[in-house]
């Protein structure tokens, strides 16, 4: 249906996610946490797509309110990344920038001190991930509301300073805690 595809394109142009048509968006893999675990890895990612999207819900075992998911490519844990964010806490807006760091982006999630059964959610776009002539950029719309004073909504972006094609993506808790039970991340491929 032409109008549905037009709406998808509009959505992509507005920054809500890479525009998808109903025939070009494919599910690649999903990981759901059964018992708390420190990392979620998507490996052997096929190179047959133009862009990747990761959609997920997550809660941290951190003994505090809130945490964040950090994203790394090809098991590179060096300080080869930078990222920016714009966020709202419910009472104020703020921004951050991090350079020479070990991850490309920070998605907000809930943690152990937050309202039970609440999870942070995020939609990540990893653009032109197989291109070997430019650095790789990611962006995310992410956040969590917990019906109280904590919680956050955030735009996040980042760069991996490498021209290598991405074949592996690793997600970890930025505070070194684990992803709690029922956290789920799904990887999708978008054709060009």
């Amino acid at each position: 249906m032409w109008w549905a595809r037009l709406l998808n394109v509009i959505s992509g142009l507005l920054g809500n996610g890479v525009a998808a048509s109903t025939t070009s968006y494919e599910s690649i893999a999903t990981v759901t946490v059964g018992s708390p675990q420190s990392a979620i890895t998507f490996s052997s990612i096929p190179s047959t797509y133009k862009h990747l999207q990761i959609r997920g819900i997550a809660r941290s075992t951190r003994a505090a309110s809130g945490s964040y998911v950090k994203i790394q490519a090809n098991s590179d844990t060096g300080n080869n990344y930078a990222n920016h964010g714009l966020y709202g806490t419910g009472s104020a807006a703020g921004a951050y920038a991090v350079t020479t760091t070990d991850h490309a982006g920070e998605a907000y999630i809930t943690a152990s001190s937050d309202l039970a059964s609440t999870f942070g959610i995020s939609v990540w776009d990893i653009l032109d991930y197989t291109n070997t002539s430019k650095y790789k950029t990611v962006r995310a719309l992410t956040g969590a509301d917990v019906n109280g004073t904590n919680g956050q909504v955030r735009f996040a972006s980042g760069v991996w300073l490498s021209t290598s094609a991405i074949t592996t993506v690793t997600l970890t808790d930025g505070n070194g805690a684990n992803f709690d039970q029922y956290s789920t991340f799904a990887l999708y491929g978008i054709k060009g």
Partner: protein, 166 residues
């Protein structure tokens, strides 16, 4: 890794100009996420409006949301707790139809509360992102979209997609 085509249109509604509410009912539980893409304005006097979204006919004070906005001169953030719906940003009656998205993640699981993300815009006024919460572990089978004032403008469109994870 398994791969399969997804991002499937479930239903579309186009407002006639006399409807305060659009309903998507009998939503299949066979997807992982829901994505609502809208091009809409409501009957609110002024540039800005809101789509009041509730699930499964729950009219209790079980909803909340956190708002981030930029209006051309400042960025700010607000929050509303214990509400009877989640607000998705759209145009008011002095604006053109404005597009936005509303995402509901893991909508059919019965172990977590349901979290949402909204991106909305009114070109003359603001750009907005919102994280929402429905405090229920019930699987979502129905979404009601209600104009915050009056009716949705004629030609407003609402398309619901399902995304199925591998």
């Amino acid at each position: 890794m398994a791969a399969g085509s997804t991002y499937t249109p479930i239903a579309t509604a186009t407002a006639s100009g006399s409807q305060p509410t659009i309903t998507f009912s009998s939503i299949s539980g066979s997807y992982t996420d829901l994505v609502l893409i809208y091009s809409a304005k409501d009957g609110t006097a002024g540039a800005e409006g809101n789509i009041l979204i509730s699930f499964n006919s729950d009219s209790g004070s079980n909803y909340s949301w956190t708002n981030l906005y930029g209006n051309g001169s400042a960025a700010g953030s607000t929050r509303l707790t214990n509400q009877t719906s989640i607000y998705a940003y759209c145009a008011g009656n002095t604006s053109s139809l404005e597009a936005g998205t509303f995402q509901v993640m893991n909508y059919s699981n019965t172990t977590t509360y349901k979290s949402t993300l909204n991106r909305g815009n009114v070109a003359s006024t603001a750009v907005v992102a919102r994280a929402g919460l429905w405090r229920s572990t019930s699987a979502i089978t129905r979404m009601d979209l209600t104009s915050s004032s009056g009716n949705f403008a004629s030609g407003s469109t609402f398309t619901l997609y399902g995304i199925q994870a591998a």
